[in-house]
Subunit: 298 residues, 2 copies
């Protein structure tokens, strides 16, 4: 590993600490929140994880010449939306999962009703944090619209609906699979980049370059996830590997084979890194995040 890569990894580690601290702070300041509800929200929100979505917002802000820490509230809002989606997706009526990140899922610990409400509260809090802590107000409003559009009935929620439908009908082909992932995970990742750019005051062409970077990285993220499920180490992942294959869910390796999936992953990451290069030295962390997505082992 070269020195520059090490510096970037140290930077990401420090940023991740700031994200975790800010998330803890948002939980601690909810003074009028019923204690059991706060426990349930914090159980899932503060469970660790890669914090990829907040990092994307901060990296995009820096790439566009802004202070990356100005994007912390947007990053935390993204993480709240991501966490609520995991809590609701794990429910018995949805994917019915008992474990997540090596721990019992929220409803296994707190019961179904509190898990539903903790998810609802995290989704709502995301918009409170964005609307209140992003400055100035017109940028905050634009970020709220970005996040809602990415997370809502044409974005992440649509992805979950289509994914549940595909369990009944089967996935037809790669285009179908990509359509599901674009909505289920891609659009939320992309909104992190857009919000980060907006907070830095980026113009429309710059936001479009971030989107092009995000499209590649979002898809790469999903291919890496599917590859991990075929070859990953269950101890590192905290859930049973080959679970998707066992449920008959179609995946990139299932549709294209492992080798072709890897080639596609690397191709997407190469393109993303070219986009990152167009941001000059300010975009170094965009390239590093693309590498991180390719190398992830949990």
């Amino acid at each position: 590993m070269d020195a520059a890569a090490t510096d970037l990894e140290i930077a990401f580690r420090l940023w991740r600490e700031s994200i975790n601290q800010r998330l803890s702070g948002y939980m601690a300041e909810r003074l009028d929140c019923p204690p059991r509800l706060r426990e349930s929200m914090a159980y899932s929100l503060l469970a660790g994880g890669k914090r990829l979505r907040p990092l994307l917002a901060m990296v995009a802000c820096e790439a566009c010449g802004g202070d990356p820490f100005a994007a912390l509230p947007a990053g935390c809002a993204l993480e709240m939306v991501h966490t609520y989606s995991l809590i609701h997706d794990d429910l018995p009526a949805m994917d019915d999962d008992d474990f997540r990140r090596g721990r019992p899922t929220n409803h296994k610990v707190f019961g179904e009703s509190l898990a539903i409400l903790a998810g609802d509260a995290l989704l709502t809090l995301a918009f409170e944090v964005l609307a209140r802590d992003v400055q100035p107000g017109n940028v905050a409003a634009a970020c709220c619209a970005d996040l809602a559009s990415a997370a809502g009935e044409c974005g992440m929620v649509a992805g979950q609906v289509v994914d549940l439908e595909a369990e009944q009908t089967g996935v037809k082909d790669v285009a179908h699979l990509e359509g599901i992932h674009r909505r289920k995970t891609g659009r939320l990742l992309m909104s992190g980049l857009t919000m980060g750019g907006r907070i830095a005051g980026a113009d429309a062409p710059t936001l479009r370059r971030l989107e092009e970077y995000g499209q590649g990285v979002g898809l790469a993220f999903q291919i890496a996830d599917d590859l991990l499920d075929v070859s990953g180490d269950p101890e590192k992942m905290g859930k049973g590997v080959q679970k998707d294959a066992g449920l008959g869910k179609l995946t990139y390796p299932g549709l294209l084979g492992v080798d072709e999936s890897r080639r596609r992953l690397w191709g997407l990451l190469d393109e993303a890194k070219q986009q990152a290069a167009s941001f000059g030295t300010q975009g170094a962390k965009l390239a590093a995040l693309a590498d991180f997505v390719g190398k992830r082992d949990h």
Copy 2:
């Protein structure tokens, strides 16, 4: 009924039509939404109802000298949040209700997973509508923060958590009951007034007067609801009356008796109407809405 009252009732009927049209429009424009998800969202959102929350936003906007129709997006956002809360509250893991407004509840028609997701999508869409359609951007951001704070883990969601807890532990006294209602319904009603005032450009003392009006009306609304459950006509209500009493839920009539509950209701409405009078002729509809809350029969 005097002529002025009739004029106001006609105005409310026209406003309600505008609200319903705008809500239908918001559903129709969701082009990339999976059809079954849109059906599920529309089933509950377009099921009719009093549209009290949107009316509150419009009336507050007019009382503060604004164009009431400028508050339509905020009103629609409120109705989306209200509808999502009904869908989730009716779920088997929550209040487990089979009927709402005389029709099968969302999960009885569309299944639990789609009902959860339709609720999630309506909550998300509320913030998209607010952030995108309220102008200017800084007012939109302030409205997003108002709505999130009222609906979230210290507001409406907290109220539902405490209400579910009270089913186990029992309601201690009137203060306990009022605390539940303030969070479960009062704060959302109040946020409608605040948003309407903000959109009219109201200053802080004016927003405080709206809040005082809203505190009284919110509590009156709940007492009227409880009284209705004791004495209401099941055909008009579309659900079994005395359901709350049957479940052992404590209510105002249960704690104070019917007569004392009625006296309290009228006292609150008198105070609200005095607050309304402080807005002059522009506040006529605030007074009319207070009367409407007192007289509601469904």
